[in-house]
């Protein structure tokens, strides 16, 4: 397990974020700092990691747990290296989202919500990503992949595997 401490660069980022809010409102920085923690020390917000964030913001651990568990972007359970998040809502469902999810399930050999045995991919269908005009769409990390075809999905997964050195 990596040491649960932000790098100096990330600590500088925490300082920058804290300056956005009144000095007595450090808790306001919780969501941005959780995003930072998940990116830098995640992808899983473990209890020790959330406790570390609580210490940085001078709030109690429960204040971090209740927030991390409320928002769907935060992984309070272990996830694979790459989280694949195809949109499943209304307009996307009209334009192939169900087929896309089924294709991903078959290709990865897992069900929606599960992680591949090699720990590389987690498939988690998500609600509306605000990309309804370019359906079907999938978010991977911060990137939107729009107007997806199965061939494009194959290419994406291949690239991710290469990035992971597999």
């Amino acid at each position: 397990m990596p040491e649960l401490r932000f790098s100096p660069a990330a600590l500088a980022e925490v300082k920058r974020l804290l300056a956005h809010y009144p000095a007595d409102r450090k808790k306001s920085a919780l969501l941005p700092v959780l995003h930072l923690a998940q990116n830098e020390l995640g992808p899983h917000l473990s209890v020790p990691l959330m406790d570390y964030v609580a210490g940085l913001l001078e709030i109690t651990p429960i204040e971090v747990y209740e927030v991390a568990s409320f928002y769907t972007m935060f992984n309070t359970r272990p996830v694979g290296r790459f989280k694949l998040e195809p949109c499943r809502t209304g307009p996307c469902a009209l334009n192939g989202a169900e087929d896309l999810i089924a294709y991903l399930e078959k290709k990865l050999g897992i069900r929606d919500g599960e992680t591949t045995a090699d720990g590389l991919f987690t498939l988690k269908s998500t609600e509306c990503l605000g990309s309804c005009g370019s359906a079907p769409v999938m978010q991977i990390g911060e990137d939107y992949h729009e107007n997806l075809t199965f061939a494009e999905v194959d290419r994406l997964l291949e690239n991710l595997k290469q990035r992971a050195g597999r």
Partner: protein
């Protein structure tokens, strides 16, 4: 108007935006107007909140408690998450400086010294883009201390959400900005008196704020002359679903008929698969669905127009709402039971869980719809759904309950035959693609 420079890459940098006439409203307001005068122009413009509720922005601003000695805040709601809506994303991606400019003049009008843009966490790339634009604005002296020597100072920050539809509700958004769960607050007190950190606060949608520079440029009265009646100005419509030309369109309110919007090549371009359009949800998934005939013409037989009033004509019995402008159309291959099940699953997933009618009701409706869709429902389930929806509506702290109830009521009101079909012919709906296979089998 709003999207005038949307395709132009120059508009994304401060220098380019200034060349296109950007930041003129900041010069105009901060050097030559009082905050009250700016507010007055917005009032005169008749600008209505573009997030979905359509509440007059000038009036909302006038409710701000100016007697309080606490700091005041302006918070931009960029938590765009209403299914079918992607206009704010488009606007921020193409015209980040228009939003920054709008934030500056609006903050000036409200007397805010610190303002925030609360953006949904999924739009993290846009957060970085906005922070870059804000950095440029600081460097050019449009933000920070003593802006353009006017004596007015403003700090502007972007704050990410964490993936929760409910944070689009303004009090949930404020809770989230304070680093808490997005549980809506009981109103009153309204944010205008006790908002962010208990201070007077105004929360406005991205498009609303992006319109303010245009109002100042042309003057409130000139802006009000655009559009029809109380639907002044232009509105961004994000179009998707079974149409040929999905995308974001800016329309002059009340001047484009629903028929033209759906069929014309200037807009949606008609159905994409050659199958006739069956139903339309014109304002985001929360507004009532309409069958094509009622979308094109009101119950009185008049041509329906793309405006707040015309879309609402007939109330929720035969009308709908412009909402957020999240327009999506369904052709005859769409199964309305499946569509409603999908949308209800969304509301169940997004319910914050505070109020029992919403927390329990949305889950209950999702389960009933799932069994109907799978061909395991009973005829009595249909009225059960109507009953649950009725008991959620109006009985929750925030409008998410209503937003979950309206699609249920309207899908059943206008497409009851499809629900009955699922009960009568369970073997025909076993295949999840029955919408595509059996479109004509659904009796009218």
């Amino acid at each position: 108007m709003i999207l005038e420079h949307a395709g132009n890459a120059e508009a994304r940098t401060l220098a380019g935006w200034r060349k296109l006439g950007g930041y003129a409203s900041v010069e105009k307001a901060l050097k030559g107007m009082t905050p009250e005068q700016v507010g007055e122009e917005v009032k005169k413009a008749g600008l209505r909140g573009r997030g979905g509720a359509g509440f007059p922005a000038g009036l909302k601003w006038s409710f701000l408690d100016r007697k309080s000695d606490k700091p005041r805040y302006l918070v931009c709601n960029a938590d765009e998450s209403e299914p079918g809506t992607f206009k704010d994303r488009y606007l921020m991606e193409h015209l980040p400086h228009l939003l920054v400019e709008g934030m500056i003049v609006s903050s000036f009008a409200l007397g805010a010294k610190t303002s925030y843009i609360y953006i949904r966490g999924e739009y993290m790339y846009l957060l970085r883009l906005l922070e870059k634009a804000i950095g440029e604005a600081y460097a050019a002296g449009y933000l920070g201390n003593d802006i353009l020597g006017s004596g007015y100072s403003l700090d502007l920050h972007v704050h990410p959400g964490g993936g929760a539809y409910i944070c689009g509700e303004e009090t949930a958004l404020l809770e989230s900005l304070e680093g808490k769960r997005g549980n809506p607050r009981i109103k009153p007190p309204f944010p205008a008196s006790q908002g962010l950190y208990g201070c007077p606060t105004v929360v406005n949608n991205v498009e609303t704020i992006a319109t303010v520079p245009h109002v100042l440029r042309m003057g409130g009265e000139a802006y009000a002359a655009i559009g029809v009646g109380k639907s002044t100005g232009t509105k961004l419509i994000s179009a998707s679903g079974h149409i040929k030309r999905p995308g974001v369109y800016e329309i002059e309110l009340g001047k484009v008929s629903c028929e033209e919007f759906l069929l014309s090549d200037a807009f949606c371009g008609g159905p994409k698969n050659g199958r006739p359009i069956k139903a339309v949800i014109p304002g985001g998934s929360s507004v009532p669905v309409l069958p094509l005939a009622l979308f094109l013409k009101t119950a009185k037989g008049e041509a329906r127009m793309m405006s707040y009033e015309s879309l609402a004509d007939g109330g929720f019995v035969s009308g709908t709402s412009l909402g957020s402008g999240g327009f999506f159309a369904m052709d005859e291959s769409a199964c309305m039971v499946r569509n409603l099940w999908n949308l209800t699953r969304f509301y169940h997933h997004e319910s914050c869980g505070q109020c029992s009618p919403c927390r329990e009701g949305t889950g209950w409706m999702e389960k009933v719809l799932h069994r109907l869709e799978a061909g395991q429902g009973r005829l009595s389930d249909i009225d059960l759904l109507v009953d649950i929806a009725k008991k959620i509506e109006g009985n929750t702290i925030c409008p998410l309950g209503d937003a979950a109830a309206w699609p249920v009521a309207s899908h059943i009101r206008h497409f009851r035959h499809e629900f009955e079909y699922h009960v009568k012919y369970p073997e025909k709906v076993k295949d999840p693609r029955h919408g595509e296979r059996e479109p004509v089998a659904m009796p009218k």
